[in-house]
Symmetry: C2
Subunit: 280 residues, 2 copies
């Protein structure tokens, strides 16, 4: 089987590294010549090119590892360059937008499977990609009514081979709800937290692990995340509002020194979070 990977960044590069040990022929496609050279030099891909048309027809499966709107543009532009019946898979962190924009192509000669690998790094580029990026990570498929089971199953198999711990199927709407909470809200919080340092102290001398952990993702790719935030703005703004309500409950309990309420809120959070930990 020949696998094409479009965009050799942190995700595409890590996909290539994770799939290569299984003996697939990996074709890497990127706009950047240096990236292709790096991928070839480091034996991450078998063939590399900056010209999609040269090798796209050979690929049985194509992972388009670009930003959401770039992914849409790439698929539209190259709709006639794919191999007949190729499975084309995205990695976008917003799914209703992808369904809406790609809907007409689900009738075409290619099989589009919409997915979201919930993994990444605050560092970008192929030099930070790694084979085990997806170890213990969650993989989500948002099936389309025109998807065939065999294609979904092939993508599931590849996801497991890449090391993902769970593979879930969920509707695009539900994906956007829950990821707007677990992923987009957390990034908004991290950015706001760093920006709310209103003091002039040498902050780094007064931090512990908690501050470091809560703010790592404040080092954010603003182009990508602006796109993700905008394409999920209804759920994200709703999630922000719900979060602010919860934080205000804590604020008010502190302000009025209401021990019972504050401890209840803390105990509830502890119990919920432990449930997640226990099943890891």
């Amino acid at each position: 089987m020949t696998i094409g990977i479009i965009g050799l960044g942190i995700i595409g590069g890590s996909y290539a590294r994770a799939l290569k040990p299984y003996g697939y022929k990996i074709i890497g496609i990127d706009v950047n010549t240096e990236t292709i050279d790096y991928a070839l030099d480091n034996n991450i891909i078998d063939i590399g090119t900056t010209k999609p048309k040269e090798h796209l027809k050979e690929c049985d499966v194509v992972f388009v590892c670009l930003y959401p709107n770039q992914t849409i543009t790439f698929i539209k532009t190259h709709i006639n360059d794919f191999k007949r019946d190729a499975i084309v898979v995205d990695v976008a962190g917003v799914k209703r937008h992808m369904t809406n924009q790609l809907d007409i192509f689900f009738n075409d000669d290619i099989n589009i499977v919409l997915t979201h690998p919930i993994a990444g790094s605050e560092k970008s580029g192929i030099s930070h990609s790694k084979e085990n990026l997806f170890k213990n990570a969650n993989f989500v498929i948002t099936p389309h009514s025109k998807n065939e089971e065999e294609h979904i199953n092939l993508v599931k198999t590849l996801a497991r081979q890449m090391g993902f711990k769970t593979v879930s199927e969920i509707s695009d709407v539900d994906h956007d709800k829950i990821l707007g909470f677990t992923s987009q809200l957390t990034h908004a919080i991290a950015v706001a937290l760093v920006n709310s340092d209103a003091y002039n102290f040498d902050t780094k001398r007064f931090i512990g692990d908690s501050y470091k952990e809560l703010t790592r993702i404040a080092m954010i790719n603003d182009t990508l995340w602006t796109e993700l935030f905008f394409e999920n703005k209804d759920f994200l703004t709703k999630n922000i509002d719900t979060f602010i309500e919860q934080l205000t409950l804590i604020r008010d309990a502190v302000h009025s020194k209401d021990t019972d309420t504050l401890q209840e809120l803390m105990q509830k959070a502890t119990k919920t979070r432990k449930d997640i930990n226990n099943e890891e």
Copy 2:
């Protein structure tokens, strides 16, 4: 030199483990017999007792590793049981409260040095204590006008021996401002985030590292943290308000699809957070 450690929990247990290699005689004092037995069996302390009066007079330095109000009560109760000129050190995460409550004892026969080791764990108890808990962590001293330099310096030396990376001196007010931001605000955010999961999905299948990192500290010791929040309620509520303002800027930029504002906020956070990382 003989060092007494009052309270063999995650902090006291780790202090004992970290100091023992330097050849000090370590006396552990805890209300729990099982904890003392564990500490003796695991060679964490040299002598252990549940009765402070038995051994307190031998200790040149006493680390009181209890919750803030327990620390105050312990020092008041045992004010006549310490060795003359002993150095008595707290570990509380709020400092104005400690200064205010202990102020009268700074004229006494003991030398109180107020400190805050910025380290911990979401797990508690001596079985989770470890020798390297303080490696690369920050240590803060809030000097009192009656403190003598030699006593401050001795505490600094012990902190460095325990592995702390930085030792800073700052006023109790400034401590409460900045720690109310880096530590208390982060814990309030983590609790609110977990509690704002308004959906009924199997959340753990839809999370990445960011959610795990932002919520680890939501597994919180509600007794300790209620005390810390209450004793710093002015700065904490102010910090929560400032944070909510910043988060609302993001929310509004998303709502109105204001790319420039959103990317500016993200770029500002990225730059600030990278500065912290670079100096590590």
